[in-house]
Structures are given as structure tokens and as C-alpha cells.
Symmetry: C2
Subunit: 369 residues, 2 copies
Amino acid sequence: MATTYAVIMAGGAGTRFWPASRNARPKQLLPLGSSTGVTLIAATRDRLAETVTGDRLYVVTAERLATATAAALPGVPKSHILAEPAPRNTAAAVAWSAATIARRDPEALVGVFPSDHFIVDETEFRFVVARALEGARAGYLTTIGVVPTRPETGYGYIERGNEIESGLFRAARFIEKPILPVAEEYVAGRKHLWNAGMFFFRADAMLKAIETHLPALAAGIAEIGAAEAKGEAAGAAAVARIFPTLPSISLDHGVMEKSANVAVVPGDFGWNDVGSWQSTWELAAKDAAGNALPDGTIAVDASGNLVADLTTAGSARDATKKRRFALVGVSDLVLVETDDAVLVIPRDRAQDVRAVVEALKTRGELDKL
Amino acid sequence: MATTYAVIMAGGAGTRFWPASRNARPKQLLPLGSSTGVTLIAATRDRLAETVTGDRLYVVTAERLATATAAALPGVPKSHILAEPAPRNTAAAVAWSAATIARRDPEALVGVFPSDHFIVDETEFRFVVARALEGARAGYLTTIGVVPTRPETGYGYIERGNEIESGLFRAARFIEKPILPVAEEYVAGRKHLWNAGMFFFRADAMLKAIETHLPALAAGIAEIGAAEAKGEAAGAAAVARIFPTLPSISLDHGVMEKSANVAVVPGDFGWNDVGSWQSTWELAAKDAAGNALPDGTIAVDASGNLVADLTTAGSARDATKKRRFALVGVSDLVLVETDDAVLVIPRDRAQDVRAVVEALKTRGELDKL
């Protein structure tokens, strides 16, 4: 029986969580949506613990994040952390990790998981993952499609086709972010699912599909693999030389949309891509007035606010070291504090954090990015 | 010719500036209304520098504030800092300082100044002070009455009577905080002035008035004076024993309202009692959108905000050590940061800081008060 491996995709940078997320500490390394300080990437690993043990867990991340990523995932062997010298999108990341796993176990069943999403119902999630792995075992390139809860225009959708077997459907189409009326039709029609960026496959099946649809990527990855077989130094040199030249394309576009044997498992387990401070607030534990606040905060006539204290003081285990927050007469605000920056923004403008990041770039304040 | 002395009244505690103002660091020890980090008390001293030199400057403060007050006023002799073991209101503070100065110079002209007010036009202020000192020299217990700019119901008023000489008027009446229609009449009638808590007198004239109107206070102060004449230790013991038992009454109520020879000099020099974060914002240097922000703050669609960074980082001389603030889409907010607390409150609710202070008291979080 084939063995299951997992790949956590942790290359993302992302500025939607400024000042918390930085080049050096992107979203997956933040304890977003957690009341216990667990980073999103560690939560991802914990969620997979019953499916995949540490020795069969791999991580693809950016070179500059490798140390911080390893620190966030103690117990993952250093050789399992694949550090990209330059970002080349998901097809390259999946190809590299699939090839790495295939050398160890060609018939491996591989699940690919984003490192920076939040899942409410972990039991249901594991059930859906098990079903998707069954699809992979049967030879399908399988995805999970999240049952939409609103006509979201910020996500891609997957249209499901015929049912192959209980809970496993043909993936009829991959669709880019739709306009609102289209998204509304999708939600009403109940045949479209959110593309959550999770993939399940036999390593050999994925590598074959990549060879068919992205031959240049397959050749580059094969070259890296040959060098890695010669030893660590040769492998590192090949990665540094070849990886930045690989075609940059998403796995969806480059492989999934073009393959015939693609399946989707609908999942309904409370999924949130933690895309903004708004979604962090949605996920957070809140008081009766809808405030998500540090312990001990004084809230007077305050509702719907999010305060994230990501300073050293705020992260202290000793409660007496933490700062005391007081909110009076304010609603639906986000206040984020780090050791070197403070952001105040209404929740419903959370996407406009971009404007701050642009201003910092314009000013050349790169240390604040 | 009589010599001029000044007494700075610096006993106030005050919670309207939480989290900046604390029991251990009240308003006068904060750099409010200043872009250069000068505390209100140091600004008061600087403003008097042309009128009174350091050797003739006295300060009345609370015992627990004596060290911090001395540190804020380098150059003031330790013996000139009169530390009250318990607050006994302004009559006792004035009596003690007047008696102290009178022992050195019975004919001294004394000006009493609150330590925590802000004055825009210092030249005009000095001119008005000089006029008030002339009144004092002529034997009047003289006050300065600020020409009202609005029907403020939070201040006491002084009604001016006949003009004694150019710019010096009889004080016809001292009036408690009026209700709004009355305050409106006062402003329209142009005979009423704000009581700004400044007093000018010959030391011997004030001591005589206190003896007449507050004999118990006069007796207590005389007893303290007799002990102080015996030496430092005896004086300190007498202060500790007697001062807390002195009658607690304001100079206005206890002396000024009851005396016949009371005068007032109208003054119009841009006076602000810095009573709340709202008035701090009014005083602060602002950008075109009405924001008073730390240097380097990124403001996007933000107007009328006040950010006071009173943390160690915010007070650093080295700009690279300061935190970067970013405000997006917020208006008329106050954000105050100290090393151990953070306040967010709309400017027009600044008085409601009291609710936070009450909550801290209820919780017993005395370290945050």
C-alpha cells in the first residue's frame, strides 16, 4: 500500500498583514487566528499529524525564510526543507517536491497544502483529505474544492463534473476569479467550489503530467534531481543555477487545467484563507460586543474591533509584561502593533494596507517592509 | 525696589491624560503641546525666565513627585522644592510658599503659576505678568483673567469691576463654573474673564490676608515656619506632622473672594489649560489634514487624528529607533502609546478616559494608574 507524504507550501511573502507580515516574517509565520500563539504553518503541520508523520513531511519555502521556517517546524529534517532561491510559482514548487519524494518512493501519495490557511473543523478536514488521497491512489490529480459560503470574487473556482465515486468528482473546469454576478450564479448553482490550492496525487502521476504539459519545467527539475543525487553541494549548486530559470506558472494553469484525469473532492470544513486583517477578525475569539482583543483589554462602548499585539511585550508569557490596551467609543477598527510599527485601519478597509506598503516602498523604508 | 519671586504649583495628579499621566508622572511632567519634548513644567519655568531667575523660583509639589519634579527643573535648589506630604489645596500651598519667601524677603513680590498650562504668545504673557506684578506692588492681591474665546462651562470666571489704572481692574466677583446660558452671557458681556489660577501679591500682604480669612491655616504655617527656622530635620518633621492637618480650601474661595483689595489684569495671550487629549490636539502642530502625528507617520485618508507616542522608543533621539505609525481611513481619533499601555479614543470623547481609570481602579490594577 502506498505511503502518504505531505508538502507544505510556504513560499509566500504577502503584504496584506503589514505591519505584522514582513519580507522576513510572512503570514504563515504569524500566529493569526490563534489564541494560543501557534503560527499558521505550525497549525498546518499539526492538522496533518494524524495523516503524515514528521519524517514524511516536506516544506517548500523561500531561501530567505528557510531558517525561520525550520524554527517554526521543529522536528522536520533540514533536508526536507526545500529552499527556493527565487519564487517560480506553484508548478515549480510542486514539481521539485514531487521529484524529491519520488526518488525516495515513486508510488508515494502526496498531498500539497498551503501553509497559511485556517481550518475550523479539523475532523471533517481529515475526512476530506482521506477521500482526496483515495482519488490520488486511483490515479487522479485530485484537488479539494471548498463549498462556497458567499459569492466571493477573490478566489478561483472549480466546476465539478460527474461523480466518479462517493464524494469524488471529475473536475470539469478551473475558473479564474469571477465577477460578482457570475460568483452569485456559482453559489446558487451548487456545482462550483473554491479552489483552495490543495493537491493530491501519486508522485509518478504528477511528474508524468508535468513532463507532458510543462516539459521545460520537467527537464529543469530532472537536472536538479540528477545533481542532488551526486551530493548536497552539487544539488545546492544546481538549485541555485537552474531553479531561478524554471518557467513560472501555477500548477492550476500549467497542469490541472490541461490534464484529463483531474478530480475534486468537495469539502465543507470551515475554511478561511486568512487573506486580510478582516478575516483574522472573523476567525478570532471575540467578546459579546464582537471585539477580538488581548486579555485584560478595557473596552468601553467599543465593538467589532481587532487588536493584535505582536510586539515582544505582547508575546510575553508573563502577563504582567504585557501592555494594557484601552478602547473607548470606537467600532470596527483594527489596531496592530509590532516592535517597530503600528497600524490603525477600519476593518472594512483592511485591503488598503497596500497603500501603506506602497508608501514605504516609495520612501525607501525597506527595513519596515 | 521689591524683588520678584515665582512659585510654580505642581501638585496635580490628574487622570485625564491616561495612559500618559499617571500617579507617578502627572500632566505637568509630560511634554504635552510641545513638538520638542519639553515638559509643561519646564515650559512654565522657561516662560518665566525673563521675569524671575532660578534662585528666586520655588515649586510646590507632592512628596511622591518631588524627585521627578526636581529632575524636570535642573538648577532649582532642592530647598526651593516644597514637597507636600498630603494635598491640601491651593490656599495651603500658597501660604507655605509665601511664608517661605517672606522669611527671605518680606516685601517680595510673588507670582504664582500653575505648572501645567500652555501659553501661545509668551511676549504678551510677560507683558500681562508685569502689569499684574505692578498691581501686587501697589498692594493688591492680583490675578490674571484670561479673555474668554468661547462660553466654556468648565472654568471659573472673574468679573472685572472699575479700572484702577491702565489694564488693572478691581475684581468684582469670583464665579464658579457657570451653566451654558450664563457662560454665553459672560462672553457677550465682555466683563467676565477666565480664572486661570495665577496670583500676584506682596508676600506680606498675602500672609496678612490669610491670617484674616484663614486663621487656622496661618497658625499652622507659622508653626511650620518656626520649626523650619530651627533646621532642616525639625522643619521636615513639622511639615509631616502639621501640613496634612491644614484646612483644605482653594485660594479663590478662602482668600480672594473675601478680600477687599483684589485686582485682575485681563490677558489675551492664547491660553490653554491642556485639560484633555482634545486640547493637546488643539495645541499640537498639525498637517494639512489636521493630523498631529509623530514624524514619518504614513497617513492615508486620515484626518484630525492625534498620535502621542510616549514610549521609550517614541522618545528616542535616534529617529531610526522610533516606531513607524500608519493611519488609514480614520478620522478624529486619539492614539496614545506608553511602554505599558495603549489608548484608542475619539477626540470628542477624550473626557471618557475617566471610564478607563475607573475600570483600572475597580480591577485593582494600581500599577497602571
